[in-house]
Symmetry: C2
Subunit: 236 residues, 2 copies
DNA sequence: ACCTGAACACCGTTCAAGT
DNA sequence: ACCTGAACACCGTTCAAGT
């Protein structure tokens, strides 16, 4: 019996196994509850054993990001830039939604991991292939911001589990203090159920914003290329 | 001498004094180095004394956010929605830039503080006064996201102090691996100085994105009101 | 040479003992 | 009743002692 447990613990620890266990643990208990000690226990290993495979917690988090970004579908070949960008971003969103902690960890890093850099490079390449100039592509990438990885920081953070206390307060007192907020919150939840929650359709809002941005980019690209055409005509 | 020190420590501790000291400390040493023990020492007070004025660290952070949001200029009266929104957001940006930790703390909260709610309410009110429907305002607020408070999460986090190691790596190896990233990084730093850093003009990029969004919103509002006019005409 | 238990220097917060 | 020192239950990581 004890031997069996020992045998199970003997499954070779590898960087990959450490990272996958860390991702699973963060998915289950939340990123704030993920600790080196905690993760080691889950793997049936002494805390210091982890340091064979990751230099420190920072590197562990880097590796976890790479696992998540690795779940993003490869770019679809042979489509126009707008469709290609849209599809890839929505795929990134799907991956990120499976790991709610990932966006926060990505933000907290000050240097992107090679895997993230590769993703960004491919995205920039889509715009360049679509006829955007280097400069316009640069501005466009800044404008799209974190949405390029499928997330935005929501100021009202968690719309799924609305604090019932918050909900109660909102309805009585706050309707007088924040009439516009309440007006919008009320309009968003015409589905029934509750008056405040479950809030709005996050996917719809994400795509609404994404499409507004992509339409804006398209307009700027046309303006840019007609600029060039005009110059070519006047000098040609 | 000892009496003098004692006297200084006797300056009445108040919630306000605690919050201001916390903001100053976070400004100086960074949010990750701000601890209850740390802050207490700065105030010449025993750690537990703080708990008289804030229930816990969470509430301390809430209070700190309120201090920062309180630095945002009031909305300018008597201008069109676009100018008013633009000015307020740029003022928010100015406030947030003085406290680099603030955006991260705001994001990490799951319920907005009353002060943030009030700010949001005023912003929503600007759109409503500008003729936006409740639904369109809702979508617009989601689209603008955290930019409404003057910040976006930068995926390449700190453009001011570029890691020299990163810089060195980028130039040699990575130029082959991430050609598009390097192309953009190169174009952004035509000022001279260094090839990668100091990167791009954050303020320009922020305003570029903000204006693209505001233009998009304006277009949608016009589409919406001409919709209404058409219906009014056909039924009138 | 490799592995690992104990220890270090922190945290936020509880709680009981002091005034 | 108020204040506060010690203690609790954590953390990431170092380091020396064991094999």
């Amino acid at each position: 019996m004890a031997q069996q447990i020992k045998a199970r613990r003997r499954i070779q620890l590898s960087r990959d196994r450490v990272l996958r266990a860390a991702v699973a643990l963060a998915d289950n208990v939340g990123i704030e509850a993920l600790s080196m000690r905690n993760l080691a226990e889950k793997l049936g290993v002494v805390p210091m054993a982890l340091y064979k495979h990751v230099a420190n917690k920072e590197e562990l988090l880097d590796g976890m990001i790479d696992v998540v970004v690795g779940e993003i579908d490869p770019p679809a070949p042979g489509t126009d830039w707008k469709t290609a960008v849209r599809q890839r971003i929505l795929s990134a969103r799907r991956a990120l939604l499976h790991h709610p902690w990932a966006s926060r960890v990505i933000e907290s890093k000050k240097n992107p991991t090679p895997v993230v850099l590769e993703y960004m490079d491919a995205m920039i390449g889509m715009f360049r292939a679509g006829g955007f100039s280097v400069n316009l592509t640069h501005h466009v990438m800044h404008t799209i911001g974190s949405r390029v990885l499928g997330f935005t920081q929501e100021l009202f953070n968690d719309s799924r589990t609305v604090d019932p206390e918050m909900q109660a307060i909102m309805l009585r007192e706050l309707a007088g203090k924040y009439p516009y907020v309440v007006e919008i919150a009320g309009a968003a939840s015409h589905e029934g159920e509750s008056v405040v929650g479950p809030g709005c359709d996050d996917q719809f809002e994400f795509e609404f914003a994404l499409d507004l941005l992509l339409d804006g980019f398209e307009r700027l690209r046309h303006a840019e290329s007609s600029e060039t055409t005009k110059i070519a005509e006047s000098t040609g």
